[in-house]
Amino acid sequence: MPETVMDSLTLSHFLMTGAVLFCLGLIGFITRRNLIIMFLCTEMMFQGVAVSLVAFSRFHLNDTGQTFVIFVLTIAAAEAALALGLVVLLFRRKRTLDALVWSQLSG
């Protein structure tokens, strides 16, 4: 096999994947109006970050990256619990999941 860059994996590959996941999650968060999907998108951003972290861990020969992913998972879990609870609460209130309905903070 020719040894081009795309044949041998570098850190950049994984960072690229992580960045793409992160940005897609971001776009999803902005464009989607369903509260649940918005939170799903944040989870996807976490996922992108996790990929990057694990890649760093691997390429820098350091376990801390993976440890951080554990923390990320923790936060994701906590967030899911709370955010989904809130979503249910909001849904009970307005009977809709549309994020645009909630704009009391409008200046």
Partner: protein, 290 residues
């Protein structure tokens, strides 16, 4: 060619943004099919550009062998699924596509020899969190299942063009940063996975020598012994520590405070979830309508 890298990245980002903007749900679905095409074209073009010989001339290699194939497969799945997550109009499917993202990234983790993380992600995300999501989706969706896609907020994305532009602007910046040559130079990884692992472990132990006295404070009989009197156990071969063991060491040795904080956060969210669940709210929709 190197000098064109940034432009290539920017062009690819612009194309990607265009494709995503087309793919996002909206009332008029006429040009939707163009999106994936443009997206595929941009990814493919970028790949071609990057894999040309002259560009990567002599600049070291990463993990040789065929693992790169797995990388392409998994990241391809991940990205495609991610696109589907944000473009699908039905929450249930979006959630399922997200499971795909999680699985694919677990694959990536395996390539990166982070077996523990791979399984953890699948179990926690794919298992626990996604199930919760599905549960809430079921709970909050319309009572009549036949009433599909009739919610405007499901069918129409908000400001897809602006959002895509902004998102891909950020992506372009991130990419151009991560393709920084100096960074690449520094990130060149050893070729041999085995030696990689050994080096990794060794560095782990060198940087943070095991605190024997804190790890082994009792003798075989379970009685406490003075720290000095304990020799490192013969079977503690650093090179033979598994991935999970190393993470455990790192977690408990270097980040005890973070661990405690994580515990507190989980506790707080537990309490918070209970409180939220018990909160009684007025049903404004019903109060207004009837």
């Amino acid at each position: 060619m190197e000098q064109y890298l940034e432009y290539a990245l920017y062009i690819a980002s612009v194309l990607g943004a265009l494709s995503l903007a087309l793919m996002l749900p909206k009332e008029k679905r006429g040009l939707r099919f163009v999106g994936p095409l443009i997206g595929a074209a941009s990814v493919g073009g970028l790949w071609l550009f990057l894999s040309s010989d002259s560009f990567w001339d002599g600049r070291g290699t990463g993990m040789a062998s065929w693992t790169f194939l797995y990388y392409y497969i998994f990241s391809g799945i991940a990205v495609a699924s991610a696109v589907r997550v944000i473009t699908h109009t039905r929450p249930v499917y979006a959630a399922l596509w997200f499971v795909m993202v999680v699985l694919a990234s677990a694959g990536l983790f395996l390539i990166l020899s982070a077996q523990f993380m791979a399984f953890a992600v699948v179990i926690i995300y794919g298992g626990a969190i996604l199930v919760t999501y599905m549960f809430v989706i079921m709970l909050a969706s319309q009572s009549d299942p036949s009433e599909q896609n009739n919610q405007a907020y499901e069918r129409v994305a908000k400001e897809p063009v602006m959002a895509s532009a902004a998102g891909f602007l950020l992506l372009a910046v991130l990419l151009s940063v991560s393709f920084d040559y100096d960074a690449l130079e520094a990130a060149r990884a050893p070729v041999d996975p085995a030696s990689t692992d050994a080096a990794l472990i060794e560095s782990t132990l060198q940087d943070r020598p095991l605190k024997i006295e804190t790890l082994y404070v009792t003798n075989e009989a379970g009685e406490p012994v003075p720290a000095e009197s304990v020799a490192p156990p013969a079977n503690l071969d650093p090179t033979r520590l598994a991935n999970a063991e190393r993470i455990g060491l790192d977690l408990f040795q270097s980040h005890p405070l973070g661990l405690e904080l994580a515990g507190v956060i989980l506790l707080v969210s537990l309490v918070g979830a209970v409180v939220i669940a018990k909160t009684k709210v007025p049903d404004e929709q019903h109060a207004v309508s009837g």
